[in-house]
């Protein structure tokens, strides 16, 4: 297995490199720089680093104003504070005028280092997906993070990128090129399709390994482009595998599961099982405690898939715990 790396540990270095080649990139921070690991950017480009203090709403407006002068403002803070606290500013000051602002939502989902419900963004994908014209992405690993940030600074328009906090293995190939609206099949199979993104890609892949041992060949797709979504891959998977299971690090309302249901309901109706946080708030805890509590471990995913396929998921869990 490849070395585990945390996307958030690398965004500072990636942005610094992009900024060296693009003088228009400006980084804005709301007093989160030690956690988002962007201090090196500030040291290297002090005049292109804007510290707005703990004031995310103001930060969005400043970014909007900068973008009207041709700058590419990159706003970096916790995902909840982009999507929940500054929702109206993101909508009215950035998305409505179609401004070229990049929003980096750190700590997307449950895994926020024991910070608990106030810091967990289980709504951000739903909120950001619903904003007209907003691109919504989450990379699965550090290679994809680099690719996506490069894409975002070349694409004109508002982009929301959700960045995971903790180390994950590499899933995309070294020579990977991110394409907006395109997914990446990580594992072939025709019995069922598992779709995920970001931090839960690992458990989803592991679940596919478990399923293979039960004779179930699952296709696994990295849906890192959540909006626009890869409709072609979803329709193809629906047609070829007959059923889709989505794995969301998000409330089951409004995340990837909902996005997939929207596509299959219109274009290729098949059954869809949405795994994710079931309309409750998160908790303080370790990632492993969180996965167990909210049913997001690989073996939970495996059990849900077997149940979805009409096989005995409960027996499977018992045999695993032995």
């Amino acid at each position: 297995m490849s070395e585990r790396k945390a996307p958030r540990d690398h965004i500072g270095a990636i942005l610094l490199k992009l900024a060296e080649n693009n003088p228009d990139i400006i980084l804005l921070d709301a007093d989160f720089k030690p956690a988002s690991k962007i201090t090196a950017f500030q040291n290297h480009f002090p005049e292109r680093f804007i510290q707005v203090g703990i004031a995310e709403q103001n930060m969005m407006g400043i970014a909007a104003g900068l973008s009207t002068l041709g700058f590419i403002p990159v706003v970096s803070t916790i995902a909840t504070f982009i999507s929940r606290r500054a929702c109206d500013q993101v909508t009215t000051s950035i998305a409505l005028p179609e401004l070229n602002v990049k929003l980096l939502g750190l700590y997307g989902g449950l895994f926020v280092g024991k910070n608990g419900a106030s810091h967990q963004s289980l709504e951000d994908l739903a909120i950001m997906r619903a904003i007209a014209g907003m691109v919504v992405l989450q990379p699965a690993d550090v290679v994809e993070t680099r690719n996506m940030l490069e894409f975002a600074t070349q694409y004109h328009g508002p982009v929301y990128i959700r960045i995971g906090r903790d180390p994950v293995p590499q899933f995309v190939p070294d020579d990977y090129q991110f394409q907006l609206g395109k997914s990446l099949t990580l594992r072939d199979g025709n019995d069922v399709t598992l779709l995920s993104y970001g931090d839960l890609m690992e458990d989803t892949m592991l679940a596919a390994d478990y399923l293979a041992k039960k004779g179930v060949q699952a296709r696994v797709i990295n849906m890192s482009s959540i909006k626009p979504i890869d409709e072609e891959a979803i329709v193809k998977a629906a047609g070829e595998t007959g059923g889709i299971v989505t794995v969301d690090n998000h409330n089951i309302y409004g995340g990837l599961g909902s996005a997939v249901c929207e596509v299959v309901a219109e274009k290729m109706p098949v059954r869809v099982k949405r795994i994710g946080v079931k309309d409750v708030f998160g908790k303080s805890g370790t990632n492993e405690q969180m996965k167990e509590k909210f049913g997001l471990r690989a073996l939970d995913i495996e059990m849900d898939v077997l149940e979805f396929l009409g096989q005995d998921g409960r027996e499977s869990q018992k045999s695993k715990s032995k």
Binding site: G53, A55, G61, A64, L66, T68, F71, D88, S93, P97
Partner: protein, 287 residues
């Protein structure tokens, strides 16, 4: 005509057009538009560096109407400047009109930022003022905020940050017309002492009568001399100024004029009997 009389006349024509536009639309924010006519007249015809033939030239001064609902006055001024043809004013609030009920960047020349959700324009102005410095441009940024709008927390986030960045290229004008939508600002949420609050936040503060052309001209001149910090001009105004039926009343906020009010207002603003009759005919035909 002296410069002051010219600017007065422009403000008056803008106010007349605001009444006509809103009468034709059926409804509109007459009160908060009429209170800013002199401020806009001074900005666009005396203070700001703009080019009527090239609204987007790079070195232009920027203006953001943070209290976006006051935009009928801004649109009327755009027609005076020549950014848009006067006929466009009569499409106010129509579904495909560039003149939406709150300004939208990209729809109409001259609009520098989408506003309407209150409290947001000043932050964008700060971004532009920082950007001007980064681009080594010496254009200035003007942001007009409302008094009611200053209930919003984001205004004070922005108020705190502009002095940090030493933005002496930024001027805020507060349209202090003393009313929110529902009531007097003093009743809805007391704002005083405004001078002391902004001064304590690190701003250079000037107070003027916002309907006095000469006081406004002098205030902008004073702001140009201030170095190392932003300026706010607290402009005392009257909501619904010049509209007898709603002047200095909360009812002026959003007005659906009846015909008698329209003719009464246009006459009060100095329109000839002929112009009023002609417009009343136009209004009748539209309805």
């Amino acid at each position: 005509m002296s410069d002051i009389n010219k600017l007065k006349a422009i403000a008056n024509r803008a106010r007349i057009n605001v009444v006509k536009m809103i009468a034709l639309s059926g409804v509109g924010h007459a009160g908060g538009a009429s209170s800013i006519a002199e401020i806009l007249s001074v900005l666009y015809f005396h203070e700001m560096n703009i080019d009527p033939t090239n609204p987007n030239f790079e070195e232009r001064d920027r203006f953001i109407l943070s209290k976006g609902h006051g935009c009928p006055a801004l649109y009327a001024i755009f027609a005076e400047v020549g950014f848009i043809p006067e006929e466009m004013l009569w499409t106010l609030h129509d579904i495909d009109s560039p003149l939406q009920m709150h300004p939208e960047l990209g729809l109409c020349p001259g609009i520098e930022m989408s506003t309407g959700a209150l409290g947001q324009g000043l932050s964008a102005g700060i971004g532009m003022a920082i950007g001007a410095r980064l681009r080594k441009k010496d254009f200035r940024v003007y942001v007009l905020i409302g008094d009611g709008e200053s209930n919003e927390g984001q205004i004070w986030e922005a108020a705190m940050s502009a002095p940090k960045f030493k933005l002496d290229n930024l001027v805020v004008i507060m349209d202090y017309n003393k009313f929110c939508l529902s009531d007097r600002t003093q009743q809805v949420m007391p704002l005083e002492p405004l001078y002391g609050k902004w001064a304590a936040f690190g701003w250079h503060v000037i107070e003027v009568n916002g309907h006095s052309i000469s006081q406004l001209i002098h205030a902008f001149e004073e702001a140009r001399k201030i170095q190392g910090k932003p300026t706010i001009i607290i402009a005392h105004t009257v909501k619904g100024y010049g509209i007898p039926s709603v002047e200095d009343k909360a009812e002026s906020h959003s007005v659906a004029f009846i015909a008698d009010q329209v003719s009464e207002t246009l006459l009060a603003l100095g329109c000839s009997q002929h112009e009023v009759s002609q417009f009343m005919q136009q209004l009748k035909e539209k309805n």
